[in-house]
């Protein structure tokens, strides 16, 4: 490239890097600012504009009630266990949907299912619902008569249904889950959070894993079938290791979804299962929420934010390493 073009390119890159990184930098130095420095006109450079102080870090790490470590552990535990469960279940779902072709006909399944659903409709005796139900029944009768041949659930049908679940706004689910949690006494437990995160992330993981595991059986799988392996064994010992990188990438994405998740964590946890996002936004900023706020909380919040960014940074480093490995040709 010509020197002028190169200079301009680098200049643009530097400017854009600053645009992206300046907020992160700001948060980082805020976390080491003293209480007085936060209120004063902005200081950009430690030791030059202000004297750094570790009081914020000390506070969130060691103060008994506002302990970062336990929140971090909660987030990490919930995130990793939910991710593992999600990836395993979604992987098996994709395997099942794409490898086993159902030969059931539409009509044979839909009829009995619909009859089951009719029972509460008839019982409720509501005019509008009955009409809708009757219309639907008529539709299915037509399908039966036309005798549509083909699998009950096609690959695209099943996965579209799964994606549709994700389109549903999560806020709709929060209240029912809260009631469920209270009723079973599982509110504010790690187990419940893990289950919830697994459930809401399975559609995402399925969608991400579909191109990876979804193609028709590879030759290695066929060879393993002939060698006598069961499908479960093929899935875990033959297929998954072969697509390790993609599965790990999917896991990283799901983990970050769990890690950053605020809504469910805020409503469904209180103290013992509290994860990082609601803690940082809620508990840590209580004084700031009131009038006349507390400047020291900005430092605490900044420190917590830095900790919350850590997994993303770690994953990015891993991804870079994995990417460069694939490029260099290691199979």
């Amino acid at each position: 490239m010509r020197p002028l073009a190169q200079a301009v390119t680098y200049a643009l890159l530097v400017v854009w890097s600053m645009v992206c990184l300046l907020p992160v930098y700001w948060v980082a130095i805020t976390s080491i600012k003293g209480i007085e420095d936060i209120d004063r006109p902005p200081g950009y450079l430690p030791f030059v504009d202000f004297m750094p102080s570790l009081h914020a870090w000390r506070f969130i790490l060691f103060e008994h009630n506002e302990n970062l470590v336990s929140r971090f552990v909660n987030s990490a535990l919930i995130g990793s266990i939910a991710t593992t469960l999600t990836v395993v279940v979604s992987g098996m779902a994709v395997y099942g949907i794409t490898r086993f072709h159902s030969t059931m006909r539409w009509s044979s399944l839909v009829g009995p299912l619909f009859l089951l659903g009719l029972v509460p409709v008839v019982v409720s005796a509501s005019g509008a619902i009955s009409l809708a139900a009757l219309l639907a029944l008529a539709g299915f009768a037509v399908a039966f008569v036309l005798r549509r041949r083909g699998p009950v659930i096609s690959v695209s049908g099943a996965t579209s249904m799964m994606l549709a679940i994700r389109v549903l706004p999560p806020v709709v689910l929060v209240l029912p889950l809260y009631v469920l949690a209270q009723a079973t006494g599982m509110r504010d437990t790690l187990v419940f959070m893990i289950l919830v995160y697994t459930a809401i992330n399975i559609p995402v993981a399925t969608w991400l894993l579909l191109p990876v595991l979804g193609s028709e059986a590879t030759e290695q799988e066929e060879a393993a079938q002939l060698d006598g392996a069961s499908h479960l064994r093929i899935f875990f010992t033959i297929l998954l290791p072969m697509v390790r990188a993609s599965v790990v990438a999917t896991g990283m994405i799901v983990f970050l979804l769990c890690w950053n998740e605020y809504l469910f964590a805020a409503y469904l946890t209180a103290d013992s299962a509290l994860t990082l996002p609601p803690w940082a936004v809620g508990q840590l900023s209580m004084k700031e929420a009131q009038v006349g706020g507390g400047a020291e909380e900005w430092a605490h919040l900044s420190a917590a934010t830095i900790v919350m960014m850590l997994p993303a940074l770690v994953f990015a480093a891993f991804a870079l390493k994995a990417l460069s490995r694939t490029v260099s040709g290691r199979s």
Partner: protein, 356 residues
């Protein structure tokens, strides 16, 4: 080597296979004798790989039965059929070592470790892979990978071997070597083998019998010699043999084949307006125009090395003749072609069937 392991026959009984509206196999009937090396030969799309996969259980037939030994295995899962398969691209497990690849069939059956290790070593020795047991597939050459696939297939001593064009991905020299190895191994083990290929040389050299398929229909099932010397129809006649059999169009009257003003004694009698005379290049000779039963003009000559291929244009047909290497003829010369009467074949031009 299993001295007393039973040899099993294999049977395809009226097998049909449709992929949607596309008919891939049509009324496929085949009886494989115990311990036989049967080659399924055909071009791409002839249904040979589909037939193999139906036998292995990876595909299910739309109609018909498959019988291995005494058992009807039509609806039985692949792993219970007691067959082994070598795939065209070997299908080795990339994340396992050579030893783990070879031992996988035994590991799945929970064979004891000591027994498994000795079986792996024995199988590896039989394919000369002894020193490579700790390598990964990506560190092996094509020939080595193919031998790993072979070892994995033989370790279990199955009832039937299936091979799907296993030599296609090898270079010519290695292919020749592995052909001999395969043939020797099959003779030694005596296991019924079904081998799919599009290469007629492999079919001719390896098979006890060859089954030629075209568009899902079995054309002929016979020994290599019979396929070569006694083809059942035009497709078989032209598929086998390199260069392919020469085709002369004409008509059949009684015991004479009429074409381009020539009158040739025909080995078969009949009355047909459109008939085809077939003769292999090695059964023709380039002679003086007055001595040959056919007369034409030299179209081209190609020196192969130990012989010359002379293409003679006779009317609308071109005949390729295997001539001695030192023949001197030039493009445009008028020559005659003599035919060996015992090696003439007559076919019906409309159906392609051989007239005997």
């Amino acid at each position: 080597m299993p001295a007393g392991s039973p040899k099993v026959p294999v049977k395809f009984d009226k097998v049909q296979k449709y992929f949607g509206p596309v008919k891939v196999l049509e009324q496929f009937d085949l009886d494989v004798a115990p311990g036989e090396f049967l080659v399924l030969l055909g071009a791409s799309g002839s249904g040979k790989t589909t037939a193999l996969r139906i036998l292995s259980g990876l595909e299910t037939a739309t109609a018909g039965r498959v019988v291995i030994g005494e058992r009807d295995v039509t609806n039985i899962l692949p792993k219970y059929r007691d067959v082994s398969m070598v795939f065209q691209s070997y299908a080795l497990y990339p994340h396992k070592t050579v030893a783990e690849n070879i031992g996988f069939p035994l590991k799945v059956r929970r064979v004891a470790k000591a027994e498994m290790d000795s079986a792996i070593r024995e199988a590896a020795a039989q394919v000369q892979l002894g020193e490579l047991l700790d390598r990964y597939p990506r560190e092996l050459s094509g020939g080595q990978r193919q031998r790993v696939a072979l070892a994995r297939a033989i370790i279990r001593r199955p009832s039937v071997f299936l091979m799907d064009e296993p030599l296609s991905n090898l270079d010519a020299k290695l292919r020749g070597y592995m052909r001999a190895e395969l043939k020797h191994m099959q003779q030694a083990f005596g296991i019924t083998t079904i081998y799919v290929t599009h290469d007629q040389i492999e079919a001719m050299t390896l098979a006890h019998r060859v089954a030629i398929l075209d568009k899902g229909v079995l054309q002929q099932l016979a020994t290599p010699a019979e396929i070569y010397n006694d083809p059942a129809n035009l497709f078989v006649a032209q598929f086998i043999g390199s260069p392919p059999m020469n085709i002369v169009r004409g008509s059949l009257e009684g015991r004479h084949f009429l074409t381009n003003g020539a009158r040739i004694d025909s080995p078969a009698g009949g009355q047909m307006d459109k008939a085809i005379l077939g003769v292999r290049p090695e059964d023709c000779a380039v002679v003086a125009p007055e001595d040959g039963v056919l007369k034409g003009v030299i179209y081209t000559t190609e020196l192969i090395g130990d012989h010359t291929l002379v293409t003679v244009e006779i009317g609308d047909d071109k005949l390729t003749v295997k001539a001695p290497k030192d023949i001197n003829g030039n493009q445009g010369d008028t020559v005659g072609v003599a035919l060996r009467r015992e090696h003439l074949y007559v076919f019906d031009a409309t159906t392609g069937q051989r007239i005997r």
